[in-house]
Amino acid sequence: MNDPQATGPAPPEALCALIDRAFDHRGYVTLSRRDGVKLVGFVYDRGPDHVELFDEAARCRIRLAVDQITGVEFTGEDSAAKAQQIWERRKGALEPPDTAVWGEWGEPERGGRGDRRAARGPRPVLILVALPAELRSVAGVLGARPGGGGARGRLGAIGAVALAVGVGGGAAQAVAAERPGLVISCGFAGALDPSLAPGDLVLASSVHDEAGESIAASEPVLCAARRALDCGDPACLAEGELLCMTEVVATAEAKRALVRPGRLAVDLESAPAAHAARRAGVAWLALRVVLDPLDADLPAFAQAARSSYLAPALRHVLRGPRAAVELAELARRARIASRSLARALDRLGPVIGGLANAEPAP
């Protein structure tokens, strides 16, 4: 049942009252998030600064910061009110004695039941990175040696293939060849949020490309990833929009021009990966690690997309001491980012079985 009075952006006090009401409501609500995504679920907990809900399928827990919520709609029937109405209608009239003892639930198949997806066996996870340096970080987590632009191993209990597809492309071909159950686009990104530092993780709730198209991530996949990643690691985990460009955004000034509310980082690869996964009907996840903070410029040699940065870096260092310092700083950030990415993938391992073959976002 829609409640039009509860729709639309609400002032803070009104929003708090709506959240309290949503918490008391024994039905689904729709929460509007600052980045435009609408989340449907059952709110079972709320605090001064957060709300927790189960998604509509009751498979996934979602934790939302209150300051990310812009509206609450009561879009689901209140089960308690319905039970009270039914009871009022039939007060005193009993169900017949031959009513099924399993109720409306039916007798379960004890010992488990398989579904078609399980019978097929899990398809592999495809991890797409751009650069060989990123591939090396990922290959270590998979317990594999990189070779020929790729690495094959296991992530958790699932087979995984990591491919370095270059900057900006190659995702569609990789998805068609590997037929994965889940596509993970990961690697370095530039921060568009001033609070993000090198090594901080960005989980994309949506990817926005240069053409203005936005693709939302599958909420169950996102939710499971969030739970796995948000576990006390020193690196900060942020969730929000990822901007995907076709050229490197190298200067602080250029990055600041792209800053929008809810937009966290910019990269070159996530949108092609998300598009390819969507076309193949599989779920995707974009996990980036911050290399350069918002106010940092990349050295000049890194301002163009390349398959290898080794030779340009060597040439750059020959320019003088200042260039050498720049390079050392970039190398330091890259080390932090690589380690953070490897740790993040490691933490995704235990939940990856549940993510592979999940339903993609509509």
Binding site: Y28, F54, E56, A80, A83, L94, E95, P97, G103
Partner: protein, 338 residues
Amino acid sequence: MGIPLSQMFTVARYVLKQHIAGRARYPLVLMLEPLFRCNLACTGCGKIQYPTALLKKHLSVDDCLAASDECGAPVVSVAGGEPLLHPQIAEIVGGLIARGRFIYLCTNALLLEDRLDEFEPDPHLSFSVHMDGPRAEHDLSVCRAGVYDKAVAAIRSAVHRGFRVTTNTTLFDGANPDRMRRFFDDMMALGIEGMMVSPGYSYRKAPDQDHFLRREQSHRLFSRLLESPSRRWRFNQSPLFLQFLMGKRAFDCTPWGNPTYNIFGWQRPCYLLQDGYARTFRELMDQTEWSRYGHASGNPRCRDCMVHCGFEPSAINASFGSLRGMGETALALVKERR
């Protein structure tokens, strides 16, 4: 008192250890709700009104055992929803028994005979059958004809096969003390180990909002019901709690005594109120504002509550908290046995 000596000894040893360790707050009974779905829709129940996807969800065996490990309470009350709708309920019970827990498997008994083969009689397992009164009252309370007879048949069957069986009776406004006394006689005649009795909690989400007992009404009802009890009656409850129900003792609630775990997490603050959820048992114990609950807090939702999940732990604390408490409990037990 209907509680076996081995269980009394385990609980007494646990409580004394907590007192010696100087723990002000400790759990006594874990209220484990592995699912919310039920095959009945009782008038006074506010536990099962959720969207279907949540009702179809249940805790895994590992979830249940991990919750018991985390909590550490010696007694686990498996409630719900109807626990016998859980496909792995026997595994859950087996795992809890292996951990040395005493289990009360709360059931309406509609599926008890069907699933009895999945369990083995064990001193650590008791089926706690929901029986709200004589046939007419019980069937009215559960909104279905024939449930009393099915439950009685299941109790007979379980007792015959050597299981521990207790009954759990919730009373509402309008209960007839004389009929309830005869009902207690009938239950004991079935060969059950003991009975549990409590006034219903006034769930805001329950269908019937008109028959919850006020505190004074509870005192009057339980005084008439429990004054001069039959010698055959055995209660699976602290004698001090029964005196509390009769208005002869004053306790405040011990909401942390029966912590509740279900598909949402650790429920704050107690089995009956839902003010949110903690992710861990430690978080529940350490970060709940306990002073907001109980009679003394003035919380209107606690005003009329006299339910055993909050006040049994208070009675147990009173029993073990002082020599006087121990003496009074021993005296009450002797009186009950005479």
